[in-house]
Symmetry: C2
Subunit: 411 residues, 2 copies
């Protein structure tokens, strides 16, 4: 791994992606394998003038032991300190921001009881909801970085040994995160500008729905929420601080209306759910609800996901990603949603982002529901984009706009 | 490292040292470097029927960055979740027990502002006091294990490379923790029995004080607390569950009376305080208080330690360790109090253990103070034993009992 690239990546994540502000406390969520990267980020954050850095380490091998050996009742009990380990900082005078580092083994829970995994993760989501409202509602800056763990790297490059695989995954990460050429801040400024232009054009179309069509059988009409707001690459907190929530980020996205999705959709890439793979997902929607669905592999998992709550069967996000995306161009399957969702257009089952409704970051969930924004304990992105995908914008006035042609932006 | 030894060590720590009970939650404090040992312990604990295992990972390299780069005000602020991350489990129906794994670099804070370190650690001690009362007061089972980190091993074996040093330190740990011969449970049962016999004999002497003398100039008379209770190797929680608080453990110890210590004492080994070394400590006591003191190296640190609070200048523990202790016989300086305190007789500045006063585990700090037990935010063991140490028991009736002759038990 190239140390100077690593330092540039850390500096970019802290200063541009999270965009730490003087006096804030930076919370870093890090797997123990990524400790040296977490330390680089902490040093950079102090240099940038944060008040403090708090690191929450996690260990997925330990998580697997616990998931396997603890009773489900123990897994469902989430002690209050877990939420407070975030909210205590939100409540400080300087406030908080958060950087989550991912290095997941995509199949960490392979072979374990999926019902148990599901109950445990729902309980955790429920307990942590006030914190998730902070991030999903852009009450503070948040971002996600990735560091290749051995298990993850070997999954992406099964033919290579651990060292080679990790090196190759680092290179792929630098490439798709625009760190490879040096000066990532500058590259991202350009990238954000281009996305902002597309957002502007899409808003001007005054759409009521987007229709996605592909030769694989997808024909889905996604009605948009009232006063939907497109967004992409750069986001802003309610206080107006810009940040990049996802690195990489190739998507322009908005809010479906939870009751106005019709038609059939097929997934175009495997999806990692709770440490297990689901492949070949299909779903048929009526009035916004997935009334029929299935999968070629992992259908039981899909059913559990859909059964989380009523909102899990409705959509919270529609995201547009061209087939020429640098992530797709690597030709890799990353087995990591943060990357794979940037390789293809996708829909998300579950909660929508308040920021994808005008003024939504200041609204409560009831107000957002009135605009048609979906709510749920989950937010699970399923990739549906293909190289032949056609997307048509249906305007409120009856006009049809070409949005994607043959998998690429039409404007 | 020998895997079967490692597994035996983990099983011993969980089942015999902590002695986990069915239905309890085991809290494991672990440095990230010791994750694989922590996982072994977690697996063993689930096998033994615990309700749950919670792991709090720490990263001392990150701690050093924070100690160096954060403002002292930030370091002094300890958010409520930190205490709750322990107390939440104490308050569950099954209750808690705790295993702390040490792998410290003895000089992790070398070169940093010692005043800042001191303020930070005092603030942390203060915030965590309710939790420390749980362990020091034997309200629950607690124990400490050690795993060689690279930094620690290289400090103990400066001539060896990292791998060799870690292997050598593992061997030394297995030896002094009585794991080397296999069946550590059995070895510890014998060991605890021998210590219990010494405790019984010492109690029968009906002592008022212990006088420690050495050719290095030590001549210290340590008056004992009212209704002092000797203890050693095996301890019991207030509910009667036996456990081994320290592994290794070669000491028989009791409570000094905080106002009845007179004379001069000299340290016989270096001492690690807050990630820095103090060497050649001396102190002169009057009416229990260290009225004069100094050190050949690290005297400023010693002064900070003594200035923590009034109790820091008084003694909380007097512990008897023969010169033939297996720890001393290794000929190693471990730069780790858990080991080094078991190589020599020692005194502790700061808080005494409630269990070293009869019925003390059920008393509050005010009641304990009436018995003469010292209180403080700190508890710092300073090794004073030498190979020529003579210890005399002064009985309430005026009789003198030989306790140590030439560094060894006299009975």
């Amino acid at each position: 791994m190239n140390d100077s690239k690593l330092e540039q990546y850390a500096a970019f994540m802290v200063r541009s992606a999270v965009n730490v502000q003087k006096g804030q406390t930076l919370i870093i969520n890090s797997p123990i394998e990524a400790a040296s990267f977490a330390r680089l980020c902490a040093e950079e954050a102090y240099k940038a003038g944060v008040y403090d850095v708090v690191v929450h380490y996690s260990d997925e091998k330990m998580a697997r032991i616990r998931m396997r050996d603890a009773a489900v009742e123990a897994l469902e009990e989430v002690q209050p300190w877990r939420l407070r380990s975030y909210m205590d900082y939100v409540q400080t005078p300087g406030g908080a921001c958060v950087l989550s580092i991912l290095a997941r083994d995509p199949e960490i829970y392979k072979g374990l009881d999926t019902g148990k995994i599901d109950r445990a993760s729902v309980a955790l989501e429920r307990a942590m909801k006030p914190w998730r409202e902070q991030t999903m509602g852009n009450r503070l800056q948040w971002s996600i970085a990735s560091v290749p763990s051995e298990a993850w790297a070997k999954r992406v490059f099964p033919g290579k040994d651990a060292d080679e695989a990790q090196r190759a995954l680092w290179e792929a990460i630098y490439r798709v995160c625009r760190v490879e050429q040096g000066r990532p801040e500058e590259a991202w400024r350009q990238h954000a500008k281009a996305a902002a232009l597309r957002v502007k054009k899409l808003q001007e179309m005054e759409l009521s729905a987007l229709r996605l069509q592909s030769e694989n059988g997808t024909d889905l009409t996604v009605g948009l929420a009232e006063e939907y707001q497109f967004a992409g690459v750069e986001e802003k907190t309610v206080a107006g601080i810009p940040f990049f929530a996802n690195v990489p980020s190739e998507e322009v996205f908005t809010a479906p209306h939870k009751e106005r999705v019709e038609g059939v959709v097929k997934s175009s890439m495997p999806y990692v759910y709770n440490g297990n793979l689901i492949e070949g997902i299909w779903a048929r929607f009526e009035k916004g609800r997935a009334v029929e669905y299935g999968a070629e592999k992992g259908e039981d998992l899909l059913r559990q996901m859909m059964d989380t709550d009523e909102g899990a069967k409705h959509l919270g996000e529609i995201a547009l990603v061209p087939a020429s995306s640098p992530v797709r161009k690597t030709g890799l399957l990353f087995y990591n949603t943060l990357f794979d969702e940037n390789a293809a257009c996708h829909i998300a089952f579950g909660a929508g982002y308040p920021g994808t409704v005008k003024g939504g970051d200041g609204m409560d969930r009831e107000q957002l529901a009135q605009k048609g924004l979906n709510d749920s304990l989950i937010h699970e992105d399923v990739m549906v984009g293909t190289e032949d995908m056609e997307i048509t914008g249906l305007s409120k006035s009856g006009k049809e706009w070409p949005v994607f042609q043959k998998g690429e932006w039409a404007f």
